[in-house]
Symmetry: none
Subunit: 286 residues, 3 copies
DNA sequence: ATAGGTTTTGTCAAGCTTTTGTACAT
DNA sequence: ATGTACAAAAGCTTGACAAAACCTAT
């Protein structure tokens, strides 16, 4: 930010036509600029500051008060930040903190408009949900805020998946085993598969293994994915898994499962985040 | 709502021609405006307030009493609030008329949040673009507005299609022949195919037929779709089409082609709107 | 560094017009130069030193303080040293060659995640599109591949521009004149203006000048930009341009226009790539 | 519409420091 | 050539002020 600060106040004044004293007043009163400083304390401005001052001037010329002009320019600067570091999860986290439904959806809108679903999931949502978990563990977020985040993210992801059971590609049935309540990862995995041309059926959280078998038969699944976040939830189901693996290509995923456990029941284990896992599964079957 | 309040009463007065004292009176007596306040207590108005005052002025000029005018303006505002007209293209068209990018995208957001891509294309976008064409022909829309609409719709559709060449399904190459500049229908067709599990490569408008052949070879296409809106653009390319048809499953589509013409070069003809055509092609190959 | 030292301070002073005492001061204070020494202790400068001094002079003439000028010259030298190329367009071009939509979008995702939109446009997209044009001219890319690249780039840029007509800044209407079909540059220009706080309305390629006038009135444009890539497309429109220029601040841009042509119709001409032009326009109006 | 009080905002001054080109003595 | 000195130009902070714009209440 102050990285490219190199204009002194006189030159900024020359370039914009705003008197030095006024520039200092705008800084002091409205925080319009945050120039770096030379060793001796002189203000050093960058090119972006020239833009900001010009924008403020335009607004003031248009009848807006100085204070409001500064506020608008600063708000715009947020938009710029968004343009410059679009993959940050901060806007989303802020909205979650405020329980701001509209803000959270707007943040997701911006992301999904700019980036592929794969990228948004891998680079924003997975880290964001992880961080939300940590904040909750440290007591910096309430359970309510965490639920709020989950609900919004799940809702948006499911909306993206609309119609994902249609088509002609390979078919996958995704589910969490009984006792596992975190279904967002399998929805992400489903989107990853969908992007790779698969047909996807998501059964959701806390699903009895017989139901999974039944659903797999019904849609003629080419693969069945059982994902577990929490360790141990699969422990009591070795027999059911073995049976499932005997009939379908069974895949375990998530940190609650392991390659060893998968091997034991005749399944494969997929490592990594949901998108990586989707890629691996597609490679496996394709 | 008061989020965008930034005009002070003097500027609002300047922009509307209504004296500040009168603006305050309207606020006090009829609640016409609800400006925010600065820290020091100054009123801060937003763009919407300018509109309201202007509408009230028009009504008063038309002979309505001030109290009544305020009531009407406020009632009107209420109507604007509940825009529950799910599948109508009116909000989109209104936004296009106003060259309102945000409004148009918001309208599309609402549609896409509620309905499948197929539905939005068939029931909203195709009719809307058709109507835009008619309005343009009748001189009720300018070319600029039509371009504006095309750009937004094309942009959104392409965003929906991002990543559509990935996967394991059948592969299609879509293009418009030389001279044909309307590529939105093939993008729609591509989305229809994608929803049916296909891999899609769109070459776009105005593409030489040799390029199409080259691309088809490169991606190993199972089908090649050449779509023409304007009659006659395919007339000079019978030989090239014949050659293309000899190597790939060639399909012609759009009102600029015909079943007879297709038969003549050894291709199939797909009737109907892009989604119907996608369904037909999927049935044909699947 | 000082391997070919052969200029004494008097000669360096002659060539640059900077007094010897000042050269010594710059060396002592800012470490701008590191001359070798003769046996007798005389400073011996090389060709690079002449450049450095000249660059410092230019910066100082441009209003930068001596200390900052020296810092910038030295930093510049550092940058020249490490030719990292994370900004290469090769992954994008490779993906285009393969008609690989996912690959191309992933390449753009990576770029946009790491660099500002301005940087990606100036340093990657403009050169990449230029190179694609050349490859096409040399027959190393087909028209289909070129269309494919355009569609992806245009789609991503438009996605970045979502909502760009919102805000409180100055407003610009951008369009290409009739016959000009390359609209990507104006979209880039629009993004450049957006990053500088402007509200942007893009009408697109091949737009009649009356439409532009109409749109400018509708959004209350502070500037109208008409951009032409191909020479001659503006030739038949001198009257219409003159009229436009009479009502709005009209700006011509692109290699298909010229300063002379602009002057003739009462418009300004903007040189350079779209981002440079955006900066110039912002400076003009601000 | 007026009166009387408040807020906003551009400007200025005083007293002191930093920066920088040049000059002088060694 | 070096080191020190110096003075003009440009900047910094604090505090204050006055005109313009706005407030409420009568």
């Amino acid at each position: 930010m102050t990285d490219d600060g190199y204009l002194r106040i006189g030159e900024l004044s020359q370039r914009t036509g705003v008197a030095p004293a006024l520039l200092r007043a705008w800084e002091r009163r409205y925080g319009l600029l945050h120039p770096g400083r030379s060793d001796g304390g002189f203000r050093l401005y960058g090119d972006g500051d020239v833009d900001r001052v010009r924008r403020a001037q335009q607004l003031i010329a248009g009848g807006v008060s100085a204070a409001e002009a500064a506020r608008l320019v600063l708000a715009d600067a947020d938009v710029e930040d968004d343009l410059d570091t679009p993959l940050a999860s901060t806007p989303l986290l802020d909205a979650v903190r405020r329980l701001d439904d509209v803000g959270a959806n707007a943040a997701l809108d911006r992301l999904l408009a700019r980036f592929s679903t794969d990228t948004v999931i891998t680079d924003v949502l997975v880290p964001a949900l992880h961080e939300i978990g940590e904040l909750w563990a440290r007591g910096e977020l309430t359970v309510g805020q965490e639920h709020f985040a989950s609900a919004i993210v799940r809702g948006r992801l499911l909306a993206l998946g609309r119609g994902w059971d249609q088509g002609a590609g390979a078919s996958a049935v995704l589910a969490c085993p009984p006792g596992e309540r975190h279904d967002i990862p399998i929805v992400m995995l489903g989107l990853g598969l969908r992007a790779r041309g698969w047909r996807v059926t998501v059964l959701g959280a806390d699903t009895p293994l017989e139901s999974i078998d039944d659903a797999a038969a019904r849609v003629g699944a080419d693969a069945v994915v059982v994902a577990a976040l929490m360790p141990g939830v699969l422990d009591d189901h070795a027999d059911a898994l073995r049976m499932l693996a005997a009939r379908r290509r069974l895949v375990l995923a998530g940190p609650g499962a392991s390659a060893a456990q998968a091997a034991e029941v005749g399944a494969r284990y997929l490592e990594g985040d949901p998108i990586v896992a989707a890629g691996a599964l597609a490679a496996l079957v394709g």
